[in-house]
Amino acid sequence: MGCASSKAPTTRSDIRGVVRREPEAGPAPVPRVKLVLLGDSGVGKSCLVLRYVRGQFDPNSKVTVGAAFMSHSVHLPDGTTVKFEIWDTAGQERYASLAPLYYRGASAAAVVYDITSKESFQKAKHWVSELQKNASGDIVIILVGNKTDLVELREVTPEDGQEYASRNDMLFIETSAKTAANVSEIFETVAKKLSGYQAPPAEVVSATN
């Protein structure tokens, strides 16, 4: 109820994992969605977030230590707004045991791999199975193949990604933080799915191609 807005109260109540805040905080409290980014180190998780939140791309971006926290609001086509609380986790091995701290209570997870690295795709599968085992049952997972700008070095085909995503009931998208291709679509797709906005699977697929 705290997150109800005058516009579409029914769809809003569908949003899972919403953190309800004091209603007096603003005229139209925005539902918050916790989204966690997981994936091997160096696949570009931070680059995706920084591209999305700040519109920046730094080719020499720094290795993330621990987890970075950022928030950003998405305006959906139906006029609703969702505030993402984005947890950009470090991909290093040493942080693996801490991941539950970050994905606990998350309503969405973006599992990122690098399309030029089969190994990172394997790692992504590992994260997916960990999420399926340990995260809340209704978590929305989106599989993200990043670095489409390096298509000539591609090792993981879009079909592989799509096939794996479909099999595990996940969303799928291929992006490039460098060219900004499909970056905001990650968050919009997730927001739509969360808010019950019926996005036919076909639409998601079309976003990847």
Partner: protein, 716 residues
């Protein structure tokens, strides 16, 4: 370092060798001697190096296979080189003597390392051998004596016995030869293709300081001396059976080993395999280490490797390309260690090489900065502490599980943290003083900052809270019962400061405070409230639950409060001044307290520590100390004074000697005065012409001025 005759003779060769600069292994000699290494061989350089490495590597693991004495003999003769020189080179801790003698006398002793560890019987034969090394010990004593920091005077240039070390290293290499843990085939192949293996042997004096387990040992303050001459019963004991086993070693074979040795054997095999791998890596990557020349010119190197010889970290250069170099370090350290002893330091020319063993790691510093051994040891310990702050000591379990574990994967992305720590030692005496540097701030503002910080700590149920500005502390909230250890604060501050990803957005990170609890980690929340000023809020909690959800909001509130009370502005203004970055200016101090612009006051720099607060202050470096060489000389000068004053208390068993309370020294560069009392410690640098009376007077006045200003200068 005095050059021996052979050094000089070898110089042209050494120069040529240095210029070729593409080997992993020769680095050690060249590093130690600035390229003035002895080159005995004329064979192809790289294979020689590889062979050398293999030999060195083989000494790392305990010998597990016996080998034909025939095949060993030639190698021994080669490594032995000039017999006279060899004899002169023997300069080791008591436990090292036997092996040196064995090898100078050319006996193969493939089994003796192992048997030494097992038996505990005295050996008269060994005693005899030991005597033959007597003159050498005398030399060594001399050399070790020069190692003690000379008060105030320039870097204690060693007057060690020239020509001693090459043969010592020859002995080491020879030893490695005779400990045939490396697979024989490869070795034979290599030997057939390479020249004499002494290519990397550094001409230098060597001092081993041993920590003998024996209760009879009498440690003295300059312990480098003590252990050389202290007989160690167990090592002698081992030698008796040794006398027998040495002769027969060649015919001993695997199946003769008793069962309980098998674990050792396995470990040894693993070590050997790891080393071979490291050596192979080195061989394959040594060509990549293009910057060898520049690398050698670095004033201070620090290396971290696993005790199986795997590279973990190198402050300069690429760890992978340095794998061979690290293998040599491993060989040296584990060789001495296998004898129940520990390699402490080596003095070579201007370079001091200090070895520290911590958990599964070997840490080594190679320094030409003139810092004393105690300072370098502390720095290495802090480097280890920083690794723990990232990994916790859980990393030790990984190594216990798998000695060949590669820690580089775990440390991924944190080399900037380790490098930054290493760099901070050059400019920051915080480690030496075990205290932190507060940002000078008007007491009303400080109070506002502290109130805000305490509210934030309370709000998120944190244990500790810090407000940092660059490398200085603006405010610190800590429970009375468990104040933060100054070295933990130093490591935490460095970790936060040197991790760039924290600047991009507010972050959470696990961090271990090794002096508080090395086994576990805290959850840290890091938020840069003001980027340009480097004003950073750090909250530490052991309970993650609430912490992760409330921190962002609390930080937001704190940020607003600090801005509204003017703290942010004041800090930004202080930090804005590029030259001083928030530090005091000597020019701004009152004249009576030694202040004044350049040339009007003899006071150049000072450190003032208040032990009860765990804080110290120091002014910004300004003319005439702002040249590169003067900057570089400053901290080592402080370190020498500090070491001289505290040597007695750091000597462990030799405690009882009170540390010096006053220290005055003068050389062509500077006059230094230090005064230590329970209430405060002052270390002051004056210009070289300052007389003692002026120095003391100014020191007093400075002290009372700082006392009068302490509410602004120190964090409450």
């Amino acid at each position: 370092m005095q050059a021996s005759g052979s050094d000089k003779a070898a110089a042209p060769q050494a120069n040529r060798r240095a210029s070729s600069a593409k080997r992993g292994a020769g680095d050690f000699a060249a590093l130690l001697e600035g390229g003035r290494a002895q080159q005995a061989g004329t064979g192809p350089l790289k294979p020689a190096v590889i062979a050398e490495l293999r030999r060195a590597a083989s000494s790392g693991g305990r010998s597990t296979h016996s080998q034909d004495s025939d095949s060993d003999q030639p190698a021994l003769q080669r490594t032995g080189g000039d017999p006279a020189q060899s004899a002169a080179g023997v300069s080791a801790g008591q436990t090292s003597d036997p092996y040196v003698d064995l090898f100078t006398s050319g006996e193969p002793a493939s089994e003796f390392t192992r048997s030494m560890e097992q038996s505990g019987q005295p050996d008269s034969g060994q005693e005899e051998l030991k005597q033959s090394a007597a003159p050498v010990q005398a030399q060594h004593t001399e050399a070790a004596g020069s190692e003690t920091p000379s008060d105030g005077a320039g870097t204690g240039a060693p007057h060690g016995s020239p020509g001693a070390a090459p043969s010592r290293f020859a002995s080491l290499a020879g030893l490695a030869d005779a400990l045939p843990a490396v697979d024989k085939l490869a070795k034979e192949q290599l030997e057939s293709s390479v020249g004499p293996p002494s290519a990397y042997l550094p001409p230098s004096d060597v001092s081993d300081r041993a920590e003998a387990p024996s209760p009879e040992e009498i440690p003295v303050s300059s312990s480098a001396l003590s252990t050389d001459e202290t007989p160690e019963p167990s090592s002698k004991a081992e030698s008796l059976s040794e006398g027998v086993s040495v002769g027969e070693a060649a015919s001993m074979s695997d199946f003769e080993m008793v069962e309980k040795e098998q674990a050792q054997v396995e470990r040894s095999r693993q070590t050997t395999a790891a080393l071979s791998q490291a050596v192979n890596e080195a061989a394959s990557t040594s060509g990549q280490n293009e910057s060898d020349e520049a690398w050698r010119r670095e004033r201070k190197h620090m290396f971290v490797l696993s005790n199986a010889g795997k590279p973990v970290f190198a402050a300069h250069g690429d760890e992978n390309a340095l794998a061979g170099f690290m293998a040599i370090i491993q060989a040296m350290m584990s060789f001495v260690q296998d004898k129940g002893d520990q390699l402490q330091s080596i003095r070579a020319g201007l370079h001091l090489v200090v070895f520290v063993e911590k958990g599964p790691f070997y840490l080594v510093a190679v320094s030409a900065t003139g810092e004393p051994e105690a300072a370098l040891k502390l720095q290495l310990e802090l480097l280890y502490g920083q690794i723990l702050s990232i990994l916790t000591n859980g990393v030790e379990k990984r190594f216990a599980h798998n000695p060949r574990y590669d820690a580089r994967g775990l440390l991924g992305g944190t080399y900037t943290v380790l490098r930054s720590l290493k760099d901070s030692f050059e400019t920051d005496p915080a480690a030496m003083l075990s205290a932190y540097l507060p940002l000078p701030l008007a007491s009303t503002l400080r109070h506002a900052a502290l109130t805000t910080l305490q509210a934030a700590v309370k709000g998120v149920n944190a244990t500790w809270g810090l407000l940092l500005a660059g490398d200085m502390v603006v405010a610190l909230a800590q429970p009375r019962a468990s104040p933060m250890h100054p070295l933990d604060l130093l490591l935490l501050s460095n970790f936060v400061r040197s991790t760039d990803s924290f600047r991009q957005s507010e972050s959470f990170s696990p961090v271990c405070l090794p002096y508080f609890q090395p086994a576990g980690h805290m959850h840290a929340y890091i938020n840069y409230l003001h980027q340009e000023a480097g004003l950073c809020l750090v909250l530490l909690s052991s309970q993650p639950e609430q912490f992760y959800t409330v921190c962002p909001e609390i930080a937001q509130a704190a940020q607003e409060q600090l801005a509204s009370t003017g703290v942010t502005e004041a800090v930004a203004a202080a930090m804005h001044d590029d030259a001083h970055r928030g530090r005091l200016h000597i020019a701004d101090l009152p004249k009576a307290a030694g202040g004044g612009s350049v040339g009007t006051t003899p006071l150049l720099h000072f450190l003032y520590k208040v032990p009860s607060r765990g804080q110290f202050i120091m002014p910004a470096i300004c003319a005439p100390l702002d040249t590169q060489s003067a900057r570089q000389a400053l901290m080592p000068a402080y370190a020498r004074v500090h070491a001289a004053m505290f040597r007695a208390s750091e000597g462990g068993a030799s405690a009882g000697l009170a540390p010096q309370r006053v220290h005055y020294s003068q050389d062509s560069e500077r006059t230094m005065l230090a005064y230590v009392s329970p209430e405060y410690e002052v270390y002051a640098v004056y210009d070289a012409l300052t007389d003692k009376q002026t120095a003391v007077q100014l020191c007093h006045k400075l002290g009372s001025y700082i006392k009068s200003q302490q509410t602004d200068l120190f964090v409450p």
